[in-house]
Amino acid sequence: MSLLERLGAGHLDDRSFARLWVDGAEHPHLSSCAACRRRYDAYADWIDDIGSDARAHADRTFPAERLAVQQAQILRRLETLDRPTRVIPFPRASRVVIGHQSPMRRWMVAAAAGLIAGVGLAQVVDRSFFERQDAAQLSHFTASDANQRASAIHPASLKDGDEEFLDVTEALGPRVKELRALDDLTPHMRDVDTRK
């Protein structure tokens, strides 16, 4: 049946069906028109089917096992809700060190620490002081000093090795009178030369 035919015969449309279904009212036309009654029943069934399909979709997504898990989680959360909050204590050692130390002991520890720090500091300061003095002496050594010292150095002798050695021995002879007797007893290089 077309829309025009329905309008002509005073039949009900979808909009009227929706209104009737929502209000739960009974239109007088439905009792007299079998075609509209059939269409309305189909319409109502369609709405009911949507509801049952939507329900089935949700029930499939949440099977019994999933609901059991959910219930267990709920009860676990309720249990934590009822349990009084627990205060976690700080570790014992840290409390002893901070809280239960006598003032005398604290002073002693502070004095010992101060002493150790003082000795260490003194050593560091001394060393740095001497290092500073050495540095100052080095800074006095100028270029003119260097030149004077260089001129004081004489060139090496060109004599041959033995003569040079004898001269050295002579030069190193005892200048002290008391040791001369002892020196005489000692064999010398010059004596060796004489034997030759």
């Binding site: 209104r19 939507a54 997504t61 009860l75 309720l78």
Partner: protein
């Protein structure tokens, strides 16, 4: 219908006595017993609550969390529950408020996030969430029937997802959960006539969205969009 009403009345009576028992046990400090009694209420309302939350937030994990939160909140605020109000109405109101908060928070989050290609149930691209139960073999249905049923459910889920929040909420409560307009009004805080208007609009919109031609056209358009992209 009268049988359903009688069952509902019996459930409500049982709820009221359980709730008052839990309250007194909580007051006496017998928490373990209070929890055990409250578990009865959880068992009675869990499935319905999960369905409502799922249709509200359209995400299974988030619905799960919303239901848990609602039960925990109900337990901790049971002292404020008045026995003259049905427990399911009081509890569902807590649940719906929680779901609305979650939806608000999600919208706020999504403002700063790039939308994913598929965002679960009734996502932006219209893909339905595929859970493991959909892949399990169903009993007594031929594969063709199973495919058709799945396809129909997917279309309904998509259509429901396209409804405005209020219309969807009213439709789910009245049609999926079988609440009367007065109960929906009590649950949502909306006027009873406003509930009826939302329900009427929801049905009209669903009729348009689920018309055979509309669904096929939407599928074709989606296919074309995929080809061009």
């Amino acid at each position: 219908m009268s049988g359903t009403s009688a069952a509902l009345a019996a459930t409500r009576e049982a709820d009221a006595s359980t709730a008052s028992a839990v309250k007194s046990l909580q007051a006496e400090g017998r928490h373990a017993e209070a929890r055990d009694r409250f578990a009865e209420l959880v068992g009675r309302h869990q499935r319905r609550a999960t369905r409502i939350a799922y249709h509200y937030v359209r995400d299974a994990a988030e619905a799960d969390e919303a239901v848990q939160d609602a039960f925990v909140k109900a337990y901790s605020h049971l002292a404020t529950f008045r026995e003259e109000l049905p427990f399911d109405v009081w509890f569902t109101r807590i649940l719906i408020n929680g779901c609305l908060d979650r939806i608000k928070a999600r919208k706020r989050r999504e403002r700063w996030q790039v939308p994913l290609a598929s965002t679960g149930w009734g996502g932006t691209d219209g893909t339905a969430e595929r859970d493991i139960t959909e892949r399990l073999p169903s009993s007594g249905q031929s594969p063709e029937d199973a495919v058709l049923t799945r396809e129909r459910r997917r279309q309904i889920a998509e259509a429901l997802a396209k409804l405005p929040d209020r219309q969807r909420a009213v439709f789910v409560l009245s049609q999926v959960e079988g609440c009367t307009s007065r109960e929906v009004s009590a649950l949502t805080g909306l006027n009873e006539s406003t509930v009826r208007v939302h329900l009427f609009r929801a049905i009209r919109k669903l009729r348009t969205l689920l018309a055979p031609g509309t669904a096929a056209a939407a599928r074709d358009q989606k296919g074309k969009r995929r080809v061009t992209s």
